[in-house]
């Protein structure tokens, strides 16, 4: 028997919890009054949100002249923020769908929050193309619908139309995936609720779920199907986002490398945002037994992996520029590293490539504050990556007479801050009203690593 014990993997959940304890640990904070810290955080994030709302209102009322764009640089802050937020969303789908298909059962502790992060990030991302249309009240023109202008249809050859379909499908599927996962937990909330309004609300939302195994059997099938659909979907979404650039002829954008480069970058940035949020959430909500150091360790390893893929892409871009023999390509990359915006390039390289290498050390992965700081650096670095790709390529294209520089205006910066406000406001509300841990899924892995009889697959 002794060697059987030795071959057991470490448990996924600490504290040797009983099933009822899991329900209690996750649901009790939602039923108690929110802490002062939560109110403080909500006040801060909703102030940012208000600032962003004012900035958006102002730029819609006054017009697109409130941005720092010019004839050369017609795309800068909006598209940078859009790609940044969409990328963040991708880690949620990676955790919920890809890791599910790979049977990585540690995902159960973090998938609920990561999926919520996906939905909120896609909402933040959606703001930017809509305001970038200049006349956001006509944003529905992006969809093909019978109209009185012909009907004049959208151009299905345009990557921007592909994007519109990709993002709206992605949002719909992520939201449904999240809701399906939430269904059994809503039933749990309903059945333990003492407050009448909570019971009624959870009763309506849980659709009469009663834990019947005939239901569970189909639930598992639907979950697997959604994971199977979500995996190629997430790859297609960021591939299409990269095509927004790659299908143009601009040096620095026109590269076949873009789809895998962008997908890896998206997962990289998203995984570090998951780490940022989870490290805060486990501390604030005392979830250390559920989101253990082993979870942080695994996510940190995914950060190194994707950091290396992103680094390889940076190197490949330079190599291909050299190897192509195209002087325009070569100039763009030299200009990125040594031109007027060299500081943005080197911020990107140090945050995305150099600093994450610290995570190779087990001691750093086990020291939560260090992981937290590194994850913040990666967030900053990945924002700069999009900024560098977009602005440096546009600002110096083929003709020197076209060259111009770009600096964001205060309105643009306020809009970016507003998107952070929206993201954190939604996340704080989520922490308060929705179980942050997938209760029903964690119950299924409690025995993982404790006994051989089940769970240890």
């Amino acid at each position: 028997m002794a060697d059987a014990v030795l071959t057991l993997r470490p448990p996924l959940i600490d504290g040797d919890k009983s099933i009822a304890q899991v329900t209690h640990d996750v649901c009790a904070p939602m039923e108690a009054r929110p802490s002062g810290l939560w109110w403080l955080a909500l006040a801060a994030s909703s102030s940012l949100l208000l600032l962003g709302a004012l900035a958006i209102g102002y730029q819609i009322a006054v017009g697109v002249g409130t941005w720092g764009l010019n004839r050369t640089i017609g795309w800068a802050f909006d598209i940078t923020n859009f790609v940044f937020w969409i990328g963040i969303g991708h880690a949620g789908t990676l955790i919920s769908a890809v890791l599910f298909l790979f049977r990585q059962r540690w995902r159960t502790s973090v998938n609920r929050a990561a999926e919520a992060m996906t939905i909120f990030a896609v909402m933040c991302a959606g703001i930017f193309p809509i305001i970038h249309t200049g006349r956001p009240w006509f944003a529905y023109w992006l969809f093909p619908y019978p109209n009185t202008r012909g009907s004049l249809w959208v151009n299905f050859r345009s990557p921007l139309v592909w994007d519109c379909f990709a993002i709206s499908t992605y949002f719909t599927v992520s939201a449904m995936f999240w809701f399906i996962g939430l269904l059994p937990d809503l039933a749990t909330i309903r059945d333990r609720a003492t407050a009448k309004w909570r019971r009624r609300l959870a009763g309506i939302l849980s659709l009469g779920w009663n834990g019947s195994y005939r239901g569970w059997q189909r639930y598992e099938v639907v979950y697997l199907l959604l994971a199977g659909l979500g995996t190629p979907l997430v790859i297609s979404v960021h591939t299409i986002v990269s095509w927004d650039f790659a299908t143009s002829v601009l040096p620095g954008w026109h590269a076949t490398l873009f789809p895998p480069y962008f997908v890896a970058g998206a997962i990289f940035s998203g995984m570090s945002m998951v780490l940022t949020l989870m490290i805060i959430a486990r501390k604030l909500m005392r979830l250390e037994d559920y989101i253990t150091l082993r979870h942080i360790d695994r996510m940190a390893k995914l950060v190194i992996l994707t950091s290396c893929i992103v680094g390889l892409s940076y190197a490949t871009e330079f190599f291909i520029a050299l190897y192509s023999g195209s002087s325009y390509e070569q100039f763009v990359f030299l200009n990125r590293a040594m031109g007027p915006m060299f500081w943005a390039y080197w911020t990107m390289v140090s945050c995305n490539l150099l600093i994450p290498q610290l995570l190779w050390f087990r001691r750093i992965r086990a020291y939560v504050p260090a992981v937290f700081v590194i994850s913040i650096f990666v967030n900053i670095g990945m924002w700069f990556e999009r900024f560098v790709i977009i602005v440096t390529s546009l600002s110096r294209d083929f003709l020197p007479s076209n060259w111009f520089h770009y600096a964001p205006t205060r309105i643009e910066i306020a809009t970016l801050m507003g998107s952070f406000g929206l993201f954190f406001t939604l996340f704080l509300l989520f922490c308060r009203f929705v179980p942050v841990i997938a209760v029903a899924e964690v119950k299924g892995v409690l025995k993982y690593g404790i006994s051989h009889e089940e769970g240890d697959s």
Binding site: L207, G208, V222, G230, A440, G444
Partner: protein, 176 residues
């Protein structure tokens, strides 16, 4: 017609699985098993047929993709052909991304809606729990009396030897 049901309540999944296997061995009719999470191996133990949902989803995905290719072709090449950069009106390769997205959308929405339909889940549905706690930490096995050979005391004894924490008899007035 009223039904006579026997509910055995268990504390963990091993006991539940053992009880399900024992009930099937003795030929009792299992109405359903209720559990707070998806217990692995229960599907085989209960002898449930595999779900047919994947086929529905496959068909819906194909339908979505087919409709979208037709729509893109019709709008771009037939209804109002517009010359964009000299590209052919029927630019099939450029139609692939949107076709893929619409296929995923049809398949995913179809999967969720058919799941709700097959399980009869809808907002405002009255929840029927066999016993309190099956959404928290209790597992319940519900057996139905089918004929006169059904011996309630035998069921009671079987449940007790398999560590049931509680056994109760329920008479339903309406068939479910």
């Amino acid at each position: 017609m009223s039904k006579r049901l026997f509910v055995g309540v268990f504390e963990n999944e091993q006991d539940t699985l053992a009880a399900v296997r024992a009930s099937r061995q003795r030929g009792f009719k299992i109405v359903d098993v209720y559990a707070p999470y998806a217990v692995h191996g229960l599907e085989e133990a209960m002898g449930l047929a595999p779900s047919r949902l994947p086929w529905i989803v496959f068909a819906l995905g194909l339908l979505g993709a087919g409709l979208k290719v037709w729509f893109e072709f019709w709008t771009t090449a037939i209804d109002w052909p517009v010359n964009v950069g000299g590209k052919p009106f029927n630019s099939l390769p450029a139609f692939i991304p949107v076709t893929f997205e619409v296929m995923v959308l049809f398949a995913a929405v179809g999967a969720v809606l058919s799941f709700f339909f097959v399980c009869r889940l809808f907002p405002g549905k009255r929840t029927l729990l066999p016993v309190i706690g099956v959404t928290d930490d209790r597992f319940a096995l519900v057996l139905e009396e089918t004929d006169s050979r059904f011996e309630p005391t035998e069921v009671q004894k079987m449940f007790e030897t398999l560590h049931a924490i509680h056994v109760e008899e329920q008479i339903t007035a309406e068939p479910e």
